[in-house]
């Protein structure tokens, strides 16, 4: 246990914060602990946390995808347009929307891997471009009246108190954890994020890996966008606008290094739960939205700062090996 804590400092810290939050919320708002509310607090941000799972992979791999929110809007817009003009059956329309999202990811992925442009730049352009594409499709209109089953999928519970989206998220999270921790793919994601050259010299096809990740990220964003459409019951060009910052914040708060190579799905999950519970608790306490944002921002800085400060005070007892005299000697 102790060793686990030492090797999972960040996760432990987050766990503490999370527990504190839950206790605080329970005291402040009696209604907080109701099943309905617990489901609600996930369900209200379900699209963000679904995309965050994919984003974790991308960032651990040493890249970033700023375009996710725009791709969400874009794929939903594609779905809506197809539905409005009733060109194809709704099921097909969903598939087409996902394919379009995949293509969006492919374009960006190729720009990154083949042209060697930093993903930050490429996806920044994507952020503007795909949002624009969504606007082009829907202009100032909003498209609704989706099939009954689709709305139900997004708005009603599926199993017990759980709506489809929440189940999907839990499955994705578990899958993400498994792939990252247990599979060769996850292994490669870490190694490549830590040092692409080493990966390349070990026979890993780095470009192919990055390409797949960026496509995957876009597809997940597409799914989330469609899910959002179902939850809202209608789509407009601005769907999910500005979500990218919240999503990236959750991943970074999860202890994923922005430089890639480190971080864990457990940390990301804890970060999600913490953020959502804090927001929900403050919401029930009638705290204004702008203050909620500020608190999450402070949390982001604080959780990164506090451990360092503590580290400063206990330099006398450094981590074993880290200061080993000749460890660094080549």
């Amino acid at each position: 246990m102790r060793s686990w804590i030492r090797s999972h400092r960040w996760e432990s810290l987050l766990a503490l914060i999370l527990i504190a939050t839950i206790v605080g919320n329970t005291i402040m708002a009696p209604v907080y602990l109701g099943v309905g509310n617990i489901v609600n607090l996930f369900w209200l941000s379900i699209e963000k946390i679904i995309v965050a799972v994919a984003m974790a992979f991308v960032i651990i791999n040493g890249e970033i995808d700023l375009s996710v929110a725009s791709v969400m809007g874009f794929s939903a817009a594609v779905l809506a347009t197809l539905h409005e003009n009733a060109v194809v059956p709704f099921g097909i329309a969903i598939i087409i929307a996902l394919v379009v999202a995949a293509l969006a990811g492919l374009i960006q992925g190729l720009a990154v891997t083949k042209l060697g442009i930093p993903s930050l730049v490429v996806t920044l352009a994507g952020l503007i471009g795909f949002r624009g594409a969504a606007r082009v499709l829907l202009e100032d209109g909003s498209v609704g009246d989706f099939p009954e089953w689709f709305d139900r999928l997004g708005q009603r519970t599926l199993v017990g108190p759980l709506p489809f989206g929440l189940i999907l998220f839990l499955v994705l999270l578990a899958l993400g954890w498994f792939v990252l921790e247990r599979t060769a793919f996850g292994r490669k994601v870490y190694v490549t994020g830590n040092n692409p050259a080493v990966a390349k010299y070990s026979g890993i096809n780095v470009e192919w890996l990055k390409l797949r990740l960026l496509v995957m990220s876009a597809v997940v964003a597409g799914v989330a966008g469609i899910l959002f459409a179902a939850r809202l019951g209608s789509v407009r060009g601005s769907l999910a606008e500005f979500y990218e910052l919240d999503i990236i914040t959750m991943v970074l708060l999860g202890g994923v290094s922005i430089f890639g190579g480190s971080g864990s799905m457990l940390g990301v999950a804890l970060a999600m739960f913490t953020v959502l519970n804090i927001r929900n608790g403050m919401g029930l306490a009638n705290v204004d939205g702008i203050i909620q944002t500020g608190v999450v921002g402070t949390l982001l800085i604080g959780s990164a700062l506090v451990p360092n400060v503590i580290q400063r005070f206990r330099v006398r007892f450094p981590t074993v090996g880290r200061y080993e005299p000749d460890a660094a000697e080549p």
Partner: protein, 397 residues
């Protein structure tokens, strides 16, 4: 919870008394209206009968609610003076909290709550208005908290419908103000600041007034392409413009400043550059109109191009006095919030019903009647009005 039980008991008792009073009070039609004003007894009667049933309804099941509805049609025929019953928790949900008009509206709600001896509504909302779907979280939280009523200025379209429906299912009346839920799903009633068609007329008239008889070119600088009521107003104005009196007014373009000052500035200037003969920019948004006036003032273009639309007196005063924005219109957001709270309170305490023909008196603002909303396919509305058109005579300063 306990407190709730207490006032149910109290109401039950009151209602019994009310029955008796009502019985001997009789129902002489031409007196009821006056009676409504001067005899608290009768109003107490009608009010409280309604109260018991609907609270029963909210407390128990939809089944009793229907019966409540049928019985209260009686109450609906009379004019109800919404008056202090008990203090209830409510949520006052603006599009966002950091645009001046919304705190103003909230002031109205607070004023009303004071008069009705109820606790102030929780004034919460998204951090900024760019976040169209941010209100959903606050709706959901309000439902979880089990508030007695929600007052919302819808920042999206029907995206809000599912969560409004959820509130309705939980027996919480949803009163929309300033901007309605288009499909009216889950919405009890919409407090319309002014008639949307009237907005069109007012804007067209201001344009005519400024451009003069010989007319000329003008363009619209709106908020976001998605903004529901801006789009409705513009549509209404275009209809009016089709009329013969406005034949010489030439609407050349509609652009969007996204309610962001800087975008609006650039858009306004781009309009001036793209249309050399442009004489007027009509901005049906408080952000856009100021930005446009500011841009034209700075570039010294006020002589060639004027600004008009919907604006806040405080923000427009300077430009109106300088002649850059000779005329603009707006309604009082304080009154809007005030009226919204009265209606929400009336519904929550069961003094009134969200049914067509229900008339009521809302404190200092006097009598209103719930009617079918002509600007939407479905839904009820209370039309506040009137427009106040500002020019250098009444803009103050």
């Amino acid at each position: 919870m306990t407190s709730k039980r207490v006032w149910i008991k109290r109401l039950a008792f009151l209602s019994v008394v009310a029955m008796l009073v009502a019985a001997c009070g009789g129902s002489d039609n031409d007196t009821t209206t006056t009676a409504a004003q001067d005899s608290p007894a009768t109003t107490a009667a009608t009010e409280t009968t309604a109260a018991t049933e609907t609270t029963a309804a909210t407390e128990t099941t939809a089944a009793t609610e229907t019966t409540a509805a049928t019985e209260t049609t009686a109450a609906a025929t009379g004019v109800v003076t919404i008056s202090p019953a008990e203090s209830i928790p409510t949520t006052f949900l603006p599009k966002c909290t950091n645009i001046p008009v919304f705190p103003q509206a909230n002031d109205g709600a607070v004023e009303a709550a004071g008069e009705l001896g109820s606790e102030e509504a929780a004034f919460v909302g998204p951090a900024d208005c760019g976040d169209a779907t941010g209100q959903i979280d606050f709706m959901a939280n309000a439902v979880t908290q089990g508030v007695a009523a929600i007052m919302v200025s819808n920042n999206a379209g029907d995206e809000l419908a599912p969560s409004a429906q959820a509130a309705a299912d939980a027996g919480i009346p949803v009163v929309s103000w300033d901007s309605p839920i288009p499909s009216a799903e889950g919405e009890s009633v919409f407090i319309a600041q002014v008639d949307f068609d009237e907005t069109g007329t007012v804007m067209a008239d201001m344009a005519l007034e400024i451009l003069g008889e010989d007319g000329g070119q003008f363009a619209v600088l709106s908020a976001t392409p998605e903004a529901a009521n801006q789009n409705a107003w513009i549509a209404a104005m275009e209809e009016v413009l089709a009329g013969p009196d406005y034949a010489d007014l030439d609407l050349v373009d509609t652009v969007y400043g996204n309610d962001v000052a800087e975008d609006s500035l650039n858009q306004a200037l781009a309009l001036v550059d793209s249309y050399p003969d442009l004489e007027l920019i009509m901005a049906p948004t408080t952000v856009g109109i100021v930005a446009a006036a500011q841009a034209l003032t700075q570039e010294g273009l006020c002589d060639e191009v004027k600004v008009s639309g919907l604006g806040l007196p405080d923000e427009m005063r300077e430009y109106t006095l300088s002649g850059c924005a000779p005329q603009f219109a707006l309604w009082s957001f304080q009154d809007l919030g005030y009226l919204a709270y009265y209606v929400a309170y009336g519904l929550a305490t069961g003094q009134i019903e969200a049914v067509e023909g229900q008339s009521f008196v809302a404190g200092r603002m006097g009598e209103y009647t719930i009617e079918a909303d002509p600007t939407r396919d479905a839904g009820l509305r209370v039309l506040m009005g009137p427009f106040s058109v500002y020019d250098e005579t009444n803009v103050g300063g």
